[in-house]
Amino acid sequence: MAASLSPVEFRVPPVDAVALETRAADLATRSIKKRAKVQGLCLAVSMMDLTTLEGMDSPGKVRQLCGKARRPLPTRPDVPPCAAVCVYPDLVPIAVEALRGSPVQVASVATGFPAGRTDRQTKLREVELAVAAGATEIDMVIDRGAFLAGRYGLVYDEICAVKEACGAAHLKVILETGELRTYDNMRRACRIALLAGADFLKTSTGKVTPASTLPTVLLLLEAVRDHFLETGRMVGVKAAGGIRTSKDALRYLVLVAETCGDLWLSPRWFRFGASSLLNDVLLQLEKERTGRYQRPADFSAD
């Protein structure tokens, strides 16, 4: 485990909120149509972590979701599979079984998702069990209570410990930006997670509003870009929660391309965490192919 850092390491320059929001709004006005739109939407599908994180999740629902992730549109083999299926730890074995032989990864939330209010040992054990069950990606939540109380070292140490428990699995660190309140806090949380060795920064759990917004994702992307320029290490970003329409997805892709460059425009470095987004994207793809607006009820719910 890495040694604790001094508080000065967690200092970040303040965020210019007006500039950030203006830039995000500005990039959101770009119009993407026809062939570029189809390409963008297919890319979005390949970046999608198809997610089901509800108390009522069942093995049947997870299997169904895995089928959808392997082949999002049964009639269209040219629509790529999703990047991953994201489930609670106890359903990881089901997902692993259902996705065997496919390129789709199994992601598991862990560390007492979504609140993260359990002790360190339980969190680490949960991560270990999820990895042992076959999860190749772990989505952890940071300790927002400790963060807001100013105990940044504690947050850092915990991420380091979880990273170690992950082993070869990829670690996505959920900052839960909706609970951090200010952009300055978000930037500091990014800094802590990047120093602690996160493979991905993820905006939110999807259980808190506001979840993912364009300005917060822009902030994360800038943090990742600056980290890359500083250290040469590439880190991914996952926008999760509240992304429901194809239009939103394309706007995020514009942000990625304009902030981090084309290198990040791949499922390896950018992800969408969503459940209802996929169907809207499929709807738009079919609209582009047939020229007719589609009926949402014609697409499977899971």
């Binding site: 020229g291 007719r292 607006y293 589609q294 009926r295 949402p296 009820a297 014609d298």
Partner: protein, 282 residues
């Protein structure tokens, strides 16, 4: 001297009054002072999305409440007599014709308000079957129904097609008269103040030649009610998702007669019959 405030005629989508997404406008009467938002296929798409949401609220409310809301709509027409007649006159109606058309419109609203909670009894049934079962047929709305209103009459033409659909519990997206869209669009103001749920009624204006095909091709519209005779291209496009197309081909004289326009026969094509078998102990 009071400052005159000319009205911009806007669409009515999801309980709001947006301009066209396309930014376009047209001057139906050739009058450059009368600008009407010219709906595009994306406005239609937005309207259908709104109607999907409106359908849940409208079909989910009790038939009695739907009747109350339509009664309120009649009240609002009554209290806005002067304004509605002015809209009709903008569309070229004489003062006498405008008054008469408004009378018809109010009478129709009242009649369909009363019909709402009787649809189930009139179109549903309890069926005699062999075996220990109660057997009921109940009616449910078809869903989101598109309306292509006639060119004239401007108000009654739209209302006479929309009201029976509403009485059946459907949500409606209507394209109002192209030549005289004023009174049709003003219906939005009446709906907005009548507790009609947002999205249950959506009103578009624009060129029929441009939009009719889009109504037919949209896969999320369940049915299409067309004034006049639909052409082959329209029915063919509608066949893609097995959309039910019905036409209402009346003579100009018929369009002015309330007794010709109020009929259960206008409700019946856009409800679905569901039959339930309920076991009884012998």
């Amino acid at each position: 001297m009071p400052l005159p405030v000319p009205k911009t005629y806007k669409l009515f989508v999801g309980g709001k009054f947006p301009r066209s997404e396309s930014g376009r406008a047209f001057q139906p009467a050739g009058n450059p002072r009368l600008n009407v938002a010219r709906g595009s296929r994306k406005d239609l798409r937005d309207a259908v999305t709104a109607a999907r949401a409106g359908l849940v609220a409208w079909s989910g409310s009790s038939a009695y409440l739907r009747g109350q809301v339509l009664y309120r709509l009649a009240e609002m027409l009554e209290s806005r007599r002067a304004a509605m007649q002015a809209e009709l006159r903008l569309g070229g109606a004489t003062a006498a014709a405008a008054r008469k058309e408004l009378d018809t419109a109010i009478a129709l609203s009242l009649w369909y308000a009363g019909l709402c909670d009787k649809v189930q009894s009139l179109l549903g049934s309890q069926n005699a079957v062999q075996g220990p079962f109660f057997n009921f047929s109940t009616v449910e709305p078809t869903g989101v129904v598109g309306v292509l209103a006639p060119e004239a009459p401007a108000l009654v033409g739209t209302l006479a097609l929309v009201l029976p659909l509403l009485a059946g519990g459907n949500a409606v997206v209507a394209l109002v008269s192209e030549a005289a869209p004023f009174a049709g669009l003003a219906l939005g103001e009446v709906c907005a103040s009548s507790d009609v749920p947002a999205g249950a009624v959506n009103l578009l204006a624009g060129h029929r030649a441009e939009l009719a095909g889009q109504f037919a091709a949209h896969r999320d519209i369940d049915g299409l009610l067309v004034a006049g005779r639909p052409d082959a291209a329209l029915t063919q496009a509608a066949a893609d998702n097995c959309k039910r197309v019905r036409c209402c081909d009346l003579t100009p004289a018929d369009w002015t007669r309330a007794e010709r326009l109020r009929s259960l026969a206008f409700v019946e094509p856009f409800v679905e019959v569901k039959t339930l078998w309920h076991p009884v102990s012998p």
